[in-house]
């Protein structure tokens, strides 16, 4: 079964109830980024635009940082709203909602990967990593969803 599939009005989202339950925690997880000092996800989600120029970087952050936070909050809200429906029945996402899902899924993947200390390519094939451990299993699940949604949205460009 495809979780994301093309629809004339956007993208159809179809989830098993237990999958929808597993995704409910996404916005909350993203809201928690940076709450714990030293959270590696915080620096991954706030990349320095001018790594060699702190003043320019601060100016960039002052200008666009609030816009970034507002956009991310709106994305999480859109995901939460559509998930409430998707827990019981398939839901048609508008293109804007589908884009919000794409960004939230990727943000969550980046967060988990940073917290797992993934810094090298090929992590998904790394036999040293225990793919039954909750964070990695969750990352694998999100990666599957994200890849499927990307494919659908590429077809719509």
């Amino acid at each position: 079964m495809h979780r994301f599939s093309p629809h004339p009005d956007g993208v159809m989202l179809t989830l098993f109830p237990e999958e929808a339950e597993a995704l409910v925690m996404l916005p909350e997880m993203l809201d928690s980024v940076g709450e714990v000092p030293g959270d590696p996800a915080a620096s991954r989600l706030a990349v320095s635009a001018y790594p060699d120029d702190p003043d320019a970087d601060a100016e960039f952050g002052d200008w666009l940082g609030p816009q970034l936070n507002i956009g991310r909050a709106a994305d999480r809200s859109a995901v939460t709203t559509s998930l409430e429906v998707a827990r019981t029945e398939p839901v048609v996402l508008s293109m804007e909602e589908a884009e919000a899902w794409l960004l939230v899924l990727n943000e969550a993947r980046l967060t988990l990967a940073a917290r797992l200390g993934i810094t090298e390519e090929g992590w998904s094939d790394d036999q040293e990593l225990d793919d039954t451990a909750p964070p990695l299993a969750y990352l694998t699940f999100l990666t599957y969803l994200h890849g499927e949604l990307t494919t659908v949205l590429l077809e719509k460009l």
């Binding site: 989600l45 001018y50 200008w63 960004l103 990727n106 980046l110 990967a113 090929g122 990666t143 990307t150």
Partner: protein, 95 residues
């Protein structure tokens, strides 16, 4: 009928604006963003063809980084912001 002025101010090079070579928007490789997703982002944000977006994505993947656009500073900053909003590792440098 036009009247010729008594004197003519001849522009010198000092009067020319400082040449703005623009700012490069650089995307760096990372182990998490999927290749297909990076192609999608380049196509969506810059309107690139699939061929060009794929070429740039492969530069990022194989060379570690790629200059995906060069523009005046404000536009380059907006591009950088949009890429970061999509989770890509994007920075700016003088062209």
């Amino acid at each position: 009928m036009a009247v010729l002025p008594d004197t003519v101010d001849v522009p010198t090079t000092d009067d020319l604006p400082v040449e703005d070579h623009g700012w490069d928007v650089v995307v760096w490789n990372d182990p998490v963003n999927l290749m297909e997703y990076v192609v999608y982002v380049f196509r969506k944000l810059f309107g690139y063809s699939d061929e060009k977006a794929t070429k740039l994505m492969l530069e990022v993947h194989n060379d570690g980084r790629s200059i995906v656009n060069t523009a005046p500073r404000e536009k380059a900053e907006m591009d950088c912001y949009s890429l970061q909003r999509h989770g890509l590792w994007a920075t700016l440098q003088k062209a």
